[in-house]
């Protein structure tokens, strides 16, 4: 763990509220090595999702630094963060993941094509492995929740990102479906060599990760 893939240092973030700013992150610091999996847990409002969003270039920090490899994520502008999201960091959300106007095949390949590294063979593999081969010309609304989430995972991995971020990926799924989706996700993440940062409040899910980080009131507990 000499040069971590992801390095988070003293991260600060607060949200405006009626009676002054409410601090959400108050100096979070941690590292994540390439290929490593990390569960980020904590009670509601502990700042898990915010942390994930800042790491993923979806939101900006008030202070501190996030570094991904050689890139200072917290120093990127809008355009730079968009580029980061396209090719290096990829997010699996709890729901509303997919582009409703595109069919499954297009959704699966979308990010890879955006990033300019579309590999049809890899996409086929992913589709097969995720059990989506028979659904490629369907639209997201025609899929079940578990299928939708599998498409999201496939899309995420199709781009072969350095870091996969997942925000309660099984939150909307029943236990059995969720467990199968997690199996697939971990298996495929391991195959691509990506690191995984997974926000969850499920201990079952957290226990499947190599490391576990607990966030409490905006600090690493």
């Amino acid at each position: 763990m000499s040069t971590p893939l992801l390095s988070v240092r003293d991260l600060q973030k607060s949200f405006p509220a009626a009676d002054g700013p409410v601090p959400v992150l108050q100096g979070v610091t941690f590292d994540l090595a390439a290929g490593q999996t990390l569960a980020l847990t904590g009670e509601s409002g502990s700042g898990k999702s915010t942390l994930l969003h800042i790491v993923g270039g979806l939101d900006t920090a008030d202070g501190g630094a996030v570094r991904l490899g050689e890139t200072e994520v917290t120093a990127l502008d809008d355009r730079g963060r968009a580029a980061l999201r396209r090719s290096r960091v990829s997010v699996v959300f709890q729901q509303f993941n997919l582009i409703p106007s595109l069919d499954v095949g297009a959704n699966l390949a979308f990010q890879a094509r955006l990033a300019g590294r579309h590999d049809p063979a890899w996409c086929d593999t992913l589709a097969r492995r995720l059990g989506l081969a028979g659904h490629l010309s369907k639209y997201p609304e025609q899929l079940s929740g578990g299928q939708q989430q599998r498409v999201a995972i496939g899309r995420t991995l199709a781009v072969r990102p350095e870091l996969v971020l997942a925000d309660e990926p099984t939150g909307n799924l029943d236990e059995e479906t969720g467990s199968r989706v997690v199996d697939l996700m971990l298996e495929l993440v391991a195959e691509t060599g990506a690191a995984l940062l997974c926000v969850t409040h499920s201990t079952a899910l957290a226990s499947r990760m190599e490391r576990r980080l607990v966030l409490s009131r905006g600090r690493v507990a």
Binding site: F15, S49, H53, G56, L58, D59, T60, D78, R79, A82, A83, L84, R85, R86, S87, V91, F93, Q94, Q95, F96, N97, L98, I99, P100, S101, L102, A106, A109, F110, Q111, R113, L114, A115, R155, D167, E168, G171
Partner: protein, 791 residues
């Protein structure tokens, strides 16, 4: 219960004020344009009614003679029990003096009262008084002048006695107006004054027919604007109903009867429509006030000032404004009310994405479009003016209804063949947005098609009209003498000064059973080389000049299906029709024969009118000489250039209003796009957030949204082009023929289309700008909320 229910229903609007504004703006705009046009039409019609009975229009029948009418003939007719009123016209010091007798002239024929400018005791007696249009210069040599509204420029009304003095024509009258019915014991006029001829008002252009075309355009536009506005209303109401499905269900579940719910919803809509209607009527009044000066100028040009320059608020008008607003709301809400009425009690409370039309619905709509097209086709087959309008409406409606399906097919094809994920998403997302935008795009299609259609018609008309004027006004000067003696003197004077003198003689007579005019013309290249023939036989002019054939105007030809080769009885003599000529603006039939033939048919009709051919450079001098020497009234000498100038000026003025309405209609369509985009903007976040998360900047998404709106507008424009051309064709070849008896060739004006394309893209871009800017500034946290657990 009702109060609480109503509050529950109405609270929706307060929570979504933007929807309320959209509904109000749509309905008010629709009502405004419709009622504005109605106000203009009503004002114009009132003006025509006045003008039709005024002296200047000459609509009342008159008694005329070949020369002046002695005053004693007038007295003899009055004393025999005939209600005639004397007129003496002539020119003095550059003014056209119109002498009238306020005692015997029908009250409606008198120049309009303007308080100070009214006819009072000073009007009769000496020195008398002239009534002139405001701003008219009156030399000191004439009696004192008072300005009054409704007097044609360059004319002065005076008492008949004053006119006789000023014109130095004591005891002479130029015409007797038949002012009213004669006494039941009165002997026939012919027994008292055998030399007088009765003429039925104006013999040239019946302007009200020409302006009929103008009002047709206005009405069609008003209706279209209204229809376009209704699309906005439909969108707003549909959305409001969908979003309240949960409320409806809850209310029903709590025991509110279906009928009460529907009644309350209807009441709510009625209130909204009345408020919007009131705003619309006020706006319509404003629109009409802004447009009426142009209309007034048009009518002034056509009529010589018998126009009210300002608007009268007629109860019928604002009542109809409310009626149309309510009716429009009812039409727009009908489907929503119907769905609500049929909604099962346990229907899902979640708003079905109302903007998401299924493919089945699209095909259903396309089926309706096909039905409209079929109706239009049947109407075409039937023929007639009403059917012409059905054809027009069916065509437009079917195009609008078919638009969503066509766009969907085009967008799907584009997304299939798109290269790259961005392009693919761009097209796919456009397709997804389509249901929410289709009402606005249908409105845009209507507006564009109408613009193209009417624009093409106007431009075709203008081109044809200009060419026709050149042909019909080939002679440099047209002249009319007052008497035969004067005609002889003028001819003697003109002899060495012009290249050719072409006598024109005319009389009124029935042709094919309807009042018409027969004209005798000379054998001269002026006619044979330029006359605007639209159908002819070989040797047309040889046969006409030889006296065995006649030419007829298109109106007569079309009305009676008489074309070259057919025979027509003229004054008891069967004559071959050798050609048909276009005769725009003339509502009546007309036939032309050679001068010699005319002479043998009507030897008693004096030759008073002449066309003169001369070097155009000499027109001005000759006109002045003729006026000075023969004291001819202004209207008796007309030079080609000024007639043409005046006609074209009238034409252009006529269509400035059309142009303004064009822009307004397009504006309403732009508004429809804006409101639709704003409405779907909130629903679009779940569609945009994943794309943003995958690496698009908000700026880029906004640009793409803007581009999408412009692209959709462009596609709609492309589709509206054939519809507009078809519309123009219907207007030119069906409506005009049915309404006025003349057919105009269709010409295409690609440059106009280009301008319209730019304008519509601009309108779409402008409409998309606000939602796009809002998107570009959406905080990431808003986008992230889409993925948030609590959603």
């Amino acid at each position: 219960m009702i109060g609480a229910t109503l509050r529950a229903l109405l609270s929706h609007w307060w929570r979504r004020p933007f929807q309320l504004v959209t509904l109000m703006v749509g309905l008010a705009t629709a009502t405004a344009l419709w009622s504005g046009v109605q106000a203009i039409n009503a004002e114009a019609r009132a003006s025509y009614d006045r003008a039709a009975t005024t002296l200047a229009a000459g609509a009342r029948p008159r008694l005329v003679a070949d020369g002046p009418i002695p005053q004693r003939t007038y007295i003899a007719l009055r004393r025999a029990g005939h209600d005639v009123s004397p007129v003496l016209e002539g020119s003095a010091a550059g003014l056209r003096i119109i002498g009238i007798d306020p005692f015997t002239l029908p009250p409606d024929d008198l120049p309009q009262d303007t308080g100070a400018g009214s006819i009072g005791p000073d009007f009769i007696g000496e020195p008398g008084q002239l009534l002139v249009a405001p701003g008219t210069e009156v030399p000191d040599s004439l009696p004192p002048a008072t300005e009054a509204e409704g007097i044609p420029p360059g004319a002065a009304y005076a008492d008949i006695g004053t006119a006789q003095r000023v014109l130095n024509r004591p005891g002479e009258l130029s015409a007797l107006i038949i002012a009213g019915p004669s006494s039941m014991t009165a002997p026939p006029i012919a027994d008292i004054a055998p030399t007088l001829r009765r003429t039925g008002g104006t013999t040239t252009t019946d302007v009200s027919r020409l302006t009929g075309s103008f009002h047709l355009n206005l009405t069609a536009f008003g209706f279209l604007s209204f229809a376009v506005g209704l699309f906005i209303v439909r969108g707003a109401i549909g959305l409001a109903f969908e979003q309240r499905r949960g409320v409806f269900r809850t209310l029903r579940a709590l025991g509110l009867p279906r009928g009460t719910l529907l009644a309350l919803l209807s009441a709510e809509l009625l209130i909204l429509s009345l408020v919007a209607g009131a705003i619309g009527i006020a706006l319509g009044y404003l629109v009409a006030t802004l447009l009426i000066p142009d209309v007034a100028a048009t009518l002034r040009g056509l009529y010589g000032a018998e126009v009210a320059g300002e608007l009268t608020l007629r109860p019928a008008w604002w009542l109809s404004g409310f009626a149309i607003a309510t009716l429009g709301t009812a039409i727009a809400a009908a489907a929503s009310l119907w769905q609500t009425a049929r909604m099962p009690l346990l229907a899902p409370a979640n708003p079905r994405a109302w903007s998401r039309a299924s493919a089945q619905a699209l095909w259903l709509q396309a089926g309706a479009a096909a039905l409209c097209l079929a109706v239009a086709a049947v109407a075409w087959g039937i023929g007639g003016l009403a059917a012409g309008f059905v054809l027009l409406g069916g065509l437009l409606l079917s195009a609008a209804l078919a638009l969503p399906l066509i766009l969907r097919i085009v967008l799907r094809a584009a997304s299939r063949t798109a290269q790259g994920p961005r392009a693919q998403w761009f097209w796919a997302d456009a397709e997804q947005q389509l249901p929410g935008l289709s009402l606005a795009l249908m409105a845009l299609l209507l507006a564009l098609a109408a613009n193209i259609g009417v624009g093409t018609m106007v431009s075709s008309f203008r081109l044809t009209f200009t060419g026709w004027l050149d042909q019909r006004l080939a002679a440099e000067l047209n002249l009319r003498a007052e008497t035969e003696v004067q005609a002889d003197e003028i001819l003697a004077f003109l002899g060495p000064r012009v290249d050719a003198i072409l006598p024109i003689r005319s009389t009124e007579l029935p042709l094919a059973g309807a009042p018409a005019q027969l004209v005798g013309v000379a054998d001269h290249p002026t006619y044979s080389e330029t006359w605007p023939l639209i159908a002819r036989q070989p040797d047309t002019w040889e046969r006409v000049n030889a006296g065995d054939a006649a030419l007829i105007n298109a109106q007569l030809a079309r009305r009676n299906d008489l074309w070259p080769g057919a025979m027509l009885e003229i004054a008891g003599r069967d004559m071959l029709i050798a050609g048909v000529y276009s005769d725009y603006g003339n509502p009546r039939g007309e036939a032309m024969v050679g001068l010699e033939r005319f002479d043998t048919l009507f030897p008693d009709i004096p030759a008073l009118s002449f066309s003169l051919r001369l070097d155009p450079a000499g027109i001005e001098d000759l006109t002045r000489d003729l006026r000075d020497r023969f004291d001819l009234p202004e209207s008796n000498i007309m030079d080609q250039a000024s007639v043409k100038r005046a006609s074209l000026a009238i034409f252009e003025r006529t269509f400035t209003v059309t142009g303004a309405l064009n822009v307004l209609t397009l504006g309403v369509a732009g508004l429809a796009i804006l409101t639709s985009l704003l409405t779907i903007a909130t629903m679009r976040l779940p569609q945009l957030a994943p794309v943003w998360a995958l690496g698009f900047t908000r700026r880029r998404l906004a640009m793409l949204d803007l581009g999408r709106a412009v692209m959709l507008a462009a596609l709609t424009f492309v589709l509206s082009l054939p519809v507009g051309i078809a519309l123009a064709w219907v207007l030119l070849s069906v409506i005009n023929v049915e309404a006025f008896g003349w057919k105009l060739p269709l010409r295409l004006f690609p440059l106009d289309w280009l301008r319209l394309l730019v304008l519509s893209l601009l309108a779409a871009a402008l409409a998309a700008l606000v939602p796009a800017l809002r998107l570009a500034r959406t905080p990431p946290s808003e986008l992230l909320k889409v993925f948030a657990h609590e959603r």
